[in-house]
Symmetry: C2
Subunit: 272 residues, 2 copies
């Protein structure tokens, strides 16, 4: 069965699929996150790899909304150290480049590099590796891609500037998603949950106090607008814990004390 | 003095500048958020209008990072009901359209509409109104823009489908920014603050308890990665209050109890 990835072979999503599953895992290339989710929901893929947050640009909020809307389960997380390389057809130098086509997140992460080259036009594209493929296929001169070293090998482009991202240590966190019913896995030590609270003062503090009392560590919190209820917020929270029993107790209390409490996934903490 | 806006005349940012300041306010058109901030910091603009969150797509996190990095002050907020319209050259119908060029946020907000037209290619562009301008200037057939009614009037395009965004009530929140030192304005009833906490369990709960004790209402919370310290988080929080004295007390306690406490702006709550 195939694993759905955002982008084409050689993309960062592809790398995650190969590392989390197996280097020979067949992948289903999807050109956007909604298409990725469609492929998973319709059964064409058995799992999907989705970028969810980056240490420079922050969370990809619309992806939280997709997970929630389609009732997907997070079965795992993966942190990838993302190194962006500028690549073009063999023989091209940085002086030849008129336009760089890449994904908006990659452009954000490399912005400082291009301040030295104000004449280069930054053009948004759907996928980093797909641009590398297009440059080779159409033999595009004057155009460069920002993509992984693997992409430069697959699509036979020369790296004209390596590691051009602003922050050298540039991690992206990915979720491994599926559509299956949650199964209790007492081996897990991390969970992603979401809930709403009423608009009373201190209601979020009350929830966080419960979590703290149950020995849960909060690693992420994000308020999100509730669709069709403008400016009411849901909270997306990641927590880690040592004992599953502590987490189980917290779940029971939180399902009483908050509204629409939902577990998005229980999985192994991939950090340390 | 000019007000910097993201995009060109007829953009949603332009509308906010005209409403918050004056309909005749001269504007400085900027083609990206970093350029907008540069124009403000270099003194070419006396203030800047910046979109910060949308009721469908959520917060524009990189803009929080820009505000923080350049030590900008939020002097006000503005909520705009954003209605997206599909527009093209006069005489064109939806069947003639091969590609729609628009800002990624606008494309996200209109995704469901285009599910009925799978042959239309969605192409990311820097600004909604700039595409409308380009279609008129270059007489582009087969291309449509997603933009405001004002843009269709300025650039003389026909609206071929009105209000195509998925959620009819689609609000975007904008900040009015400047570079001036904060002045105490006891008239304000809302503030945007940021801080870090140490990694001890319950440290965020402690901070939220203080806010609640000081009668502050939390309207937004967002954890953000700290640049160069991957997976350490800063918190960006919006609060409302009735008495400035309550807020002043909270500020004193929070500056002791959290790390790097900073006020990004104190302003009037524009909701209700």
């Amino acid at each position: 069965m195939k694993i759905a990835i955002q982008g084409v072979k050689g993309s960062f999503h592809h790398k995650v699929a190969q590392t989390f599953f197996d280097a020979t895992t067949p992948v289903l290339e999807c050109m956007s996150f909604p298409v990725l989710v469609d492929q998973l929901v319709s059964g064409n893929a058995s799992a999907a790899v989705m970028a969810i947050e980056n240490s420079i640009a922050g969370a990809i909020l619309p992806n939280y909304a997709l997970i929630d809307k389609h009732k997907l389960t997070i079965e795992g997380e993966f942190y990838l150290d993302v190194q962006h390389n500028l690549m073009a057809l063999s023989g091209q130098t940085i002086e030849d480049i008129k336009e760089v086509w890449s994904h908006p997140m990659a452009l954000i992460q490399c912005r400082s590099f291009f301040e030295k080259y104000p004449s280069i036009k930054l053009v948004e594209a759907t996928d980093t590796a797909a641009v590398a493929h297009q440059i080779q296929k159409e033999q595009l001169k004057g155009i460069a891609a920002i993509a992984s070293e693997t992409a430069s090998q697959i699509y036979e482009l020369d790296i004209i500037a390596p590691q051009i991202q602003t922050i050298k240590h540039n991690e992206t966190r990915f979720f491994i998603l599926n559509t299956e019913e949650k199964q209790i896995n007492t081996d897990c030590n991390k969970a992603s949950i979401c809930f709403r609270t009423d608009h009373k003062r201190g209601s979020l503090a009350t929830i966080l106090n419960i979590m703290s009392d149950c020995k849960l560590n909060l690693t992420k919190i994000q308020s999100m607008p509730v669709i069709e209820m403008p400016w009411q917020y849901a909270f997306f929270v990641d927590i880690t814990f040592d004992a599953y029993s502590d987490y189980e107790k917290a779940k029971k209390v939180l399902s009483i004390m908050s509204k629409d409490f939902k577990v998005l996934g229980e999985y192994k903490n991939q950090k340390r």
